[in-house]
Structures are given as C-alpha cells and as structure tokens.
C-alpha cells in the first residue's frame, strides 16, 4: 500500500472509492463525495503530498455532470482525487487555501469549463479575456469551437499599490525581444519592485479542445506543438499516456531512442539558456559561444533524425527515426567535442566576477516558498526540491540507467544557471551510456484504439520539468478530454513570487533564468 492511499482511506473510510482504470501502476484514482474534495487535499497535504495538477472534465456524454480532478504527488506516487458535480450546480470546494498552485488551476477551470470553486479568493478570468462572452466555456461539450468568438465590453481589474512614489510599469504583450507574448505589470518605488502581476493567455490557441477534434492518431503531432522548444518531451508524454490506456508496449529500442531525443533536447535548450542568461547580464560573449554549440546539436539532429528539433519523431508505439552505426559514432564524436567546448565556457562563467555579481542573490525563490508553490523541474531543483520524474517515476530506459539530478538551495539566478550546467554534464553522460547499451530490434509497435471510458496518464521530465498528460476516452471510445500540464503552469507563479525586492533592470535576467513557456501555459 502507499502512503497517500493509506492516509486517505484512514480518514475517509468508504467515502473514497478506488477505480481500476488502466493507469500506469504508479497512479491511483479515487472518487470522493464533492464536499470531501478539499478535505482530501488537507489529508494528503498532511502526508507531505504536493499538488501536481487540477482540472475539470465535461462528463455529460456519459450521462453525468462535470468531473473535477486533483493530482497529488508524493515521491514516486501519483494519486488522482476526483469528485462529480451535477450539471445544474457545478460547484466544488476550492483547494486554494491548502495548495497555492490551485489558485491558477481553479481560475482556469472556472473560465474555460464553467465549474465554480467555492471559497476561491480571486475569480477574475484566467486565459479567458475580459472581452469574451461570460458564458463562453470552450471545454464544455455544448460549446461550438469552430466559430470565432464575438467580442464584448469588459475590464480586467489589476491589483493596485498606492502610496507616495509608487508607480506602475506595464510591459507587453509584444515584448522587446524575440520572445512569446505576455503581460507583466510592475509596481515599483524607485528601482525596487514591490509587486509583479502576470497576465497570460495571449497565445491561447484552444489546444485542449483541438485534441478532441483531432482524434487519437493526430494528437501526438499537436502535442509536439504545445511548446515548440519541448516538442520531444510533450509528444513523449502524450504517447506514453495513450500507451498506458491501450496497454501498448513499445519495443526496447524505441525507449532508448526516445530517451536519446529527450536528452538531446535538454542539452540544446540548456546550452541556449545559459548563453541567454549571461547575455541578459550584458555578457554577450557567452551567448554567441553557446548558440554556436546549440546550432551544432540542431544540425546533427537534422542530419541523423531529419528535423532540427526532432518534431514528430516520437509517435504512439515508438519512434519514427532510427540510428545506424555511423550515426552512433557521429553522436559520440559530437559529445566529445561538446564536452570539451562546454567545459571551457563553464570555466569562463565561473571565473567572471562581474557576472557573478549580477547572478548571485538575484531573483531568489527560497526553498520553503518553492515547496509551497509545488514548483517543478529546474526551478524546483535550484530551490532545494529534489524532484525529477526520471528518478522518481522512472520510465524505461531510466529504470535501468541511473540519473543523478543536481540540487542547489540558493534558488537565485545563479542556482538556476548552475543546475542547467550540471544537467548538461549529466545528459552527456546519459547519452554515452544509452548509446553503449542501445538494444537492437524494431523501433515501433502497433497501437490499438483505446476502449470506451478509459483514462491514461503520463509524467515525463522535459527540460523545463515534469510534464503531465491525462487522457480520457468517451462512451464511443473517442477523445473526451486531453489535459496538458506544462511545468510553466506552476512555475510562472514562482517567477511572480521571486521578483518583489529586486530592481526593475534585473527582471529580464530573472525571467530568462526561469524561461517558462507562454504557449505551454496558455494552451
């Protein structure tokens, strides 16, 4: 038995009903009465669980109402707690007072599904903008997604700060650099930021709804475009969730190649980020050196696997690319070259005191705050949380190849940069080990269509952190819901919390060190 299940059954008794859906064995789902939804959160929080995701489904095709789901994580264990809501009164107790990340999850559920979290302190729309009609709930089955939305009059209530010398700086959605759109509003006194409010949703493309119309076969391509820089990890998470629903077992060689793509994606993004962080501290030398290394990796990707970012190379049942002896050697040679060049640059980073002056103690997210926010990925590991799906819920080949994830505790820009440096080193080692133990055989297995009324779940450690997919099939075996949780949905709150107390000119540097996805958050 597991800790979370024990805690829940001890407290709720027969009130918690466990399902035998075809999840991976590490995931358990149980239904509790609606009024016990927040009570369950209190119980699992006492058992040290973190909130990984919260979402709602429209279950009217099954003859029910709406479903609300909260996914908790403790070590390698995931527990999904579900409650049913009637159509006429879709209200449920809010988890926001127990778990901070529920704050945005619930605003989003309220905005897009029209379910009402009772006791939520701030129900301003999220992702949904003030110019959408109030009753436009795109995730409901009754919503016609093919028609453009009309625009109505509305106003967004920003949080305010008042007092002598307090002024406001609005930034975005169109930013100064080549980055995605979002809006940041700073309240500042002199150079010091006293509050930052994020407003995201500008790149909401209706992805979760789109999954429902694309069908099971088309979904992996869309998953690969949830966040372009994380294409491998997102399509892998989608494919693994689908495979967990259908019982498909990809061949061993496919697992190894998927992990190879995943680690290559991690290195390419980390190398680019380290350069960009230094550039935002006015050390452009590093940007040009690092982008040179990144370009080298992308070119090898194209040469060996046919795409610079390996889009659409992970497919349900396996992979759509293979590697031969020549390719294996090319990757090993590349790793030798990368390691040599990278270490020289790390020495420069470490040596440079003016750079250190900018990155140390800047944008600090203390460990206790990171835990409270249930942060994931590089942000969590830079703030003392030892969280990595590759270690805690190891999917093949990570169950046979040991991963050592670095953990730092200072939580500042330097820690987030240094975690990346250590991860590049570790990924180089992993790639060498994978290529040495690469099994033979086919690279894909056939995938059957999911049966009716099933659910699938997968958690994959992308380069930003844990990505979660939860799929549900409808009464006819069709896609009823595809829930996507990019690490950014949680970590954006971390940025908001890390900024106050810093000076305005340090914001780009802090933001770059978090480097969260707008598209993955807005969906």
């Amino acid at each position: 038995m597991s800790t979370l299940i024990d805690a829940l059954t001890a407290a709720l008794g027969t009130g918690a009903q466990f399902h035998k859906w075809q999840y991976p064995p590490s995931v358990v789902c149980c239904t509790v009465p609606r009024e016990k939804f927040a009570e369950a959160a209190r119980i699992v929080k006492k058992a040290y669980a973190l909130l990984a995701a919260e979402w709602a489904t429209d279950e009217t095709p099954f003859g029910g109402g709406y479903g609300v789901y909260a996914c908790y994580r403790w070590g390698g264990e995931y527990l999904i707690v579900r409650a049913e809501l009637p159509v006429e009164n879709p209200e449920f107790p809010s988890l926001t007072k127990r778990y901070l990340p529920a704050y945005r999850f619930e605003r989003q559920m309220h905005s897009l599904m029209g379910v009402a979290p009772a006791g939520h302190p701030d129900l301003r729309p999220w992702i949904k903008f003030e110019d959408w009609p109030q009753d436009a709930w795109p995730l409901r089955k009754s919503f016609d997604a093919s028609r453009p939305l009309p625009r109505v009059k509305g106003e967004y209530r920003w949080s305010r700060a008042e007092g002598e010398g307090v002024y406001e700086i609005p930034v975005g959605p169109v930013h100064a650099g080549i980055i995605e759109p979002g809006h940041f509003r700073f309240q500042a006194v002199g150079e010091h930021i006293i509050n930052l409010e994020e407003r995201l949703g500008y790149v909401h493309k209706g992805i979760e709804k789109r999954f429902e119309s694309l069908g099971w076969e088309g979904g992996f391509r869309l998953a690969g475009r949830v966040s372009g820089d994380t294409t491998v990890a997102h399509s892998l998470a989608y494919c693994r969730a689908l495979e967990s629903m259908t019982g498909c077992m990809p061949p061993d060689r496919a697992h190894w190649l998927r992990a190879l793509f995943l680690e290559r994606e991690r290195i390419a993004n980390h190398v680019g980020d380290i350069g960009a962080i230094c550039n935002d501290a006015a050390f452009a030398f590093m940007l040009y050196q690092m982008t040179r290394l990144k370009e080298m990796l992308l070119r090898t990707n194209r040469e060996l696997f046919g795409h610079r970012f390996m889009m659409d190379r992970v497919i349900p049942g396996g992979v759509a690319a293979d590697i031969d002896e020549k390719g294996r050697k090319a990757v090993l040679d590349e790793m030798t070259c990368l390691e040599r060049e990278f270490e020289r640059l790390v020495a420069v980073y470490d040596d440079n005191s003016s750079l250190e002056d900018r990155v140390r103690d800047t944008g600090a997210l203390p460990p206790e705050k990171a835990r409270e926010l249930c942060a994931v990925g590089i942000v969590a590991r830079a703030s003392g949380l030892n969280l990595d799906c590759r270690m805690q819920v190891p999917f093949p080949p990570y169950d046979r190849i040991e991963v050592k994830a670095p953990v730092l505790i200072s939580g500042d820009v330097h820690a987030r940069a240094w975690v990346r440096i250590e991860e590049v080193r570790e990924s180089i080692r992993l790639i060498r080990e994978m290529l040495a133990t690469l099994p033979g055989g086919p690279v894909a297995a056939p995938v059957a269509a999911p049966q009716a009324d099933r659910a699938g779940f997968a958690a994959v450690e992308g380069w930003r952190g844990e990505i979660i997919y939860w799929l549900q099939s409808g009464p006819g075996g069709e896609v009823n819901r595809c829930m996507v949780r990019d690490p950014s949905s949680i970590n954006w709150l971390g940025l908001e919390q890390a900024i106050p107390g810093n000076i305005v000119p340090d914001f780009p540097l802090c933001n770059k060190s978090f480097n969260q996805s707008y598209s993955g958050n807005d969906l």
Partner: protein, 171 residues
C-alpha cells in the same frame, strides 16, 4: 580575461557563406543585398518580430538567424524592440483571438513601407491549430502579408530567403 581572449581566438570567425540559392536572391535583390539595404533602408533593415500565437518553434529559428553561423547582421539586418523603428514585421502565428488586437496595433505603429513576412505554416494558414474560437488562422486574415514562408518551423535559411524576397518584391 585571458580565457575569454583565448576562446575568441580559438573560435575564430564561424560565419558561413550562404547557400547558392540565397546568394542568387541576394543578387536578384540588386547586386548585393548590403547595397539594396543601404540604398532603400538607410543602411539597415530593421525588423520587429511579433509572436501572434506561435508555439515558440519559429522563434527558435528566428533566434538562430542571429547566431554567429548565420549572422544576419552582416547584411545590415537588425532586430529592434519597437515597431516604430521597424521597416519589416516578422510575424509568427496563428493569430490568436487574444493577440489579434495587439497585432493590429503593432502593424498600425509601424511606419511605411510596412513589409510583412509571415513565418511558419501556422502564420501562413493556421497550421495544425486551424481556425477556431481561439485561433483566427493565418496572419493574412488580420494584416496584409507580403511574403509567406512555409515550414514547421522553417529553417533559418528559409526565413532569410523570405526576408530577401520581401525586399526584392517591394522595390
């Protein structure tokens, strides 16, 4: 400091010659692209990049244009922070419902000749996101487009080639 200097010397100049197809475009653009840029855009073509809803894949390739291998600055092509200084908008898409207004306002803020290059399949026709309640589809639905560059995402050469085509056609 010595480490930095050594590294710079060791790296040397890594900027590459452009493939023949792009060189042909440069010639078509008026002998040499630098000359075209010098003559028509007062020595530098300034680009404002606008993400109107992309997945960030196209942005990665636009970033790559600035890396030392492609080094687009050698042609006097620069990226600017404000649309008010821009000769050209490099727009990725699809245009989302929530970005439509911001894209229109950016276009209005851009002075003539307002060249617009739509980058990527989504910017051309909505791509995999199509048209829906949240997505308007291609950039052309919202602002006039001069050149469309296909690809998911298009590689840096294709983007550079699209930029040159726009200069060439708006002569």
């Amino acid at each position: 400091m010595m480490r930095i200097l050594y590294q710079i010397l060791r790296t040397g100049i890594v900027t590459e010659a452009m493939p023949r197809e792009i060189n042909a475009r440069i010639e078509a653009a008026g002998g040499r692209l630098e000359e075209a840029v010098k003559r028509r855009f007062r020595k530098s073509l300034t680009i404002r990049q606008v993400d109107a809803g992309s997945c960030n894949g196209c942005e990665l390739e636009i970033h790559a244009l600035n890396n030392p291998l492609y080094n687009c600055e050698r042609y006097g092509i620069r990226f600017t922070a404000s649309p008010r200084f821009a000769d050209m908008l490099l727009v990725t898409g699809p245009v989302t419902h929530n970005m439509e207004r911001a894209l229109r306002r950016t276009y209005e803020a851009t002075p003539a000749p307002k060249l617009v290059v739509a980058v990527g399949d989504c910017a051309c026709n909505g791509g995999i996101f199509g048209e829906s309640y949240a997505s308007r589809g291609g950039i052309g639905k919202v602002i006039p487009v001069d050149v469309a560059v296909h690809g998911c995402p298009p590689d840096p050469f294709a983007i550079l080639s699209g930029i040159m085509k726009a200069i060439e056609e708006k002569r």
